[in-house]
């Protein structure tokens, strides 16, 4: 308040010394049009000088020209980032016409422009974070559902892939070939936009779950196959030697031994999954990426994207730490 009052005084003074009825007082219309011309010629400093020469209206006089010229000057000063002077002019106008829309808008813009970046960031955070967090819950839901589906699907496919039955094995080879060999984005498009033409219409959520589930099952299948094949053949022999069937041996002996070895590569897949869920924003799913993008398109505020990035980082970091803990826990039977 004090500052604006001071600057008001300062700014009023040069023009204000000229009493309204002094002879030779420049015509306010003339000054306004001269100033406008100078703006058109690009001589901004001179234009501001001209605009400032328009005297304040005496009580009862129409304030229109004064307001317009001060407004022009304020805009020019704002564009030159002279926020204090610009704000002073706005205050000058608002003293006379407190409801002037232009002056109010410019004053707000100045306040925004003057706020430090970090403060702006925090303010935006307060405004948009609830929306982003809500969208994050959808991202997490997709992640957890995929994490529940894909190991089961992956194990099934892996076991099919290592089957000694050639036909079975090639069916699963084909599946893995398709889903690992094409972009996830394309698979999502196919499921959401392509399947309806085959008479299967899925809502975005179902399509997203299906796309992520099928894709990640294929990736996990290859990891699990590698894990199973890395177990010493003697384990299967020993299991068979005590009378186990192939499936008993798989369930009780072979697959459990892969858990610890699978944690790092599967953990990496799930970290990639957190980021890959962003792709379902393209099939009308509102999750973190899409929410951030929506706010961004409305505000052109890049900090929104930074906030989304931070949320993704928090999620991936939590996953990284958890999977390392899990790996240690599963390794209790190892002598290190």
């Amino acid at each position: 308040m004090l500052i604006s009052a001071l600057s008001l005084l300062l700014l009023i003074t040069p023009a204000g010394v000229l009493p309204a009825d002094v002879p030779g007082k420049p015509d306010q219309y003339e000054l306004l049009s001269q100033g406008t011309r100078l703006v058109q010629e690009g001589m901004l400093d001179e234009a501001v000088e001209k605009f400032m020469q328009v005297p304040p209206p005496v009580p009862g006089e129409d304030a229109g020209v004064f307001v317009r010229s001060r407004m022009e000057a304020a805009r020019i000063l704002f564009s030159k980032k002279d926020f204090r002077a610009s704000a002073g002019l706005c205050d000058e106008i608002l003293c006379i016409l407190p409801d002037n829309i232009d002056a109010n808008n410019l004053a707000r813009q100045i306040r925004v422009a003057e706020t430090p970046e970090w403060l702006k960031f925090l303010k935006d955070m307060k405004t948009y974070l609830p929306t982003l967090v809500k969208a994050t819950s959808m991202t997490l839901l997709l992640v957890f559902i995929t994490m529940a589906i894909s190991p089961v699907g992956g194990l099934f496919i892996a076991l099919g892939r290592i089957s000694r039955n050639k036909a079975v094995s090639s069916v699963f080879w084909f599946y893995i070939w398709i889903f690992r060999g094409t972009p996830l984005l394309l698979q999502l498009f196919f499921i959401y936009y392509g399947l309806p033409s085959l008479g299967i219409t899925l809502d975005p959520f179902a399509a997203a779950v299906m796309g992520l589930g099928l894709n990640y099952s294929a990736y996990l299948a290859e990891i699990m196959r590698g894990g199973i094949e890395s177990i010493d053949a003697g384990q299967m022999e020993a299991a068979k030697a005590i009378g186990m069937t192939y499936w008993q041996a798989m369930r009780r002996i072979i697959v459990p031994q892969t858990y610890k070895r699978l944690v790092p590569p599967v953990g990496n897949e799930f970290i990639a999954l957190i980021k890959d869920t962003a792709l379902v924003s393209t099939i009308a799913m509102v999750e973190l990426m899409r929410a951030a993008n929506q706010i961004f398109s409305a505000t052109f505020n890049v900090y929104i994207l930074a906030q989304a990035a931070i949320i993704y980082l928090v999620l991936t970091s939590i996953f990284t730490v958890s999977f390392r803990k899990l790996e240690d826990r599963l390794g209790v039977y190892e002598n290190r």
Partner: protein
């Protein structure tokens, strides 16, 4: 009890086991010796159906088991569940133990009766503890294999095989992967089993042990039995067979 007749196993053009007859009577302790590559492991694996034989037959209590012939007269193994139940009556101990590393010693021993025979847990627990006492490892029951010495691992492996109450125990070089100072404890364990009347076929390169435990020794060479008889005859000075003589001179 278990009888092999004319058993043949080929790997490509090589006959790893080349027409072998073997009659294993209840309570017998048969030791098979012979140079590396002579087919000893392959023979044991066929007795346990881990390897499919190409010719011959396996009889249990006088009945042919495990195979039938297809239209072209070739041997085909029976369905997996049939083979599994045959295997559950034969225990096998491997050179490299193959304990289940994710299970404790006790869990290793319990696994067969629990999963294969589906016996009640309390009973299996008691049986497994008894077996660990028998192999002298009651205090290691909760240890994971990675924390056991080689000799201890092999004794757990023996207990694991015994837990299925097999008719026959097969040992394939049970001490070959052990440090010399650990060999004794495993031999002692096997000798104790022999004292309990358990039928066993043992492949070993330890001639002293063979001589001590065997009531019948077989010398195998190039997939055939070139000697079969009492250990004292094999190790006696009267042994004239040149292959056996040079082999024994090398290992003794």
């Amino acid at each position: 009890m278990i009888e092999l007749q004319g058993v043949v196993k080929r790997f490509g053009s090589l006959s790893a086991v080349d027409g072998v007859d073997l009659d294993i009577e209840k309570g017998q302790r048969i030791v098979i010796i012979g140079p590396s590559g002579s087919g000893k492991t392959t023979l044991l694996r066929m007795i346990n159906f881990l390897e499919k034989m190409d010719e011959g037959s396996i009889l249990m209590e006088g009945k042919e088991v495990g195979y039938h012939k297809d239209k072209k007269g070739r041997l085909v193994m029976e369905k997996p569940h049939v083979i599994s139940s045959l295997r559950s009556e034969i225990g096998m101990v491997f050179q490299h133990f193959h304990l289940f590393p994710h299970m404790t010693a006790l869990q290793n021993v319990m696994e067969g009766p629990l999963t294969v025979k589906k016996e009640p847990r309390e009973e299996v627990h008691k049986l497994a503890l008894d077996l660990l006492v028998r192999v002298g490892l009651q205090d290691k029951k909760d240890a994971y294999p990675a924390f056991l010495s080689g000799g201890q691992k092999q004794r757990v492996a023996i207990a694991r095989a015994l837990a299925m109450r097999p008719k026959l125990m097969l040992f394939d070089e049970p001490t070959s992967a052990l440090d010399p100072e650990l060999v004794g404890e495993v031999f002692t364990t096997i000798k104790n089993l022999a004292g309990e009347g358990i039928t066993m076929v043992i492949v070993t390169h330890q001639m002293g042990f063979a001589r001590e435990i065997a009531d019948r020794v077989i010398f195998m060479d190039n997939g055939r039995f070139i000697f079969e008889g009492h250990p004292e005859d094999l190790f006696s000075d009267r042994m004239e067979h040149p292959r056996i003589k040079t082999f024994l001179q090398k290992v003794l």
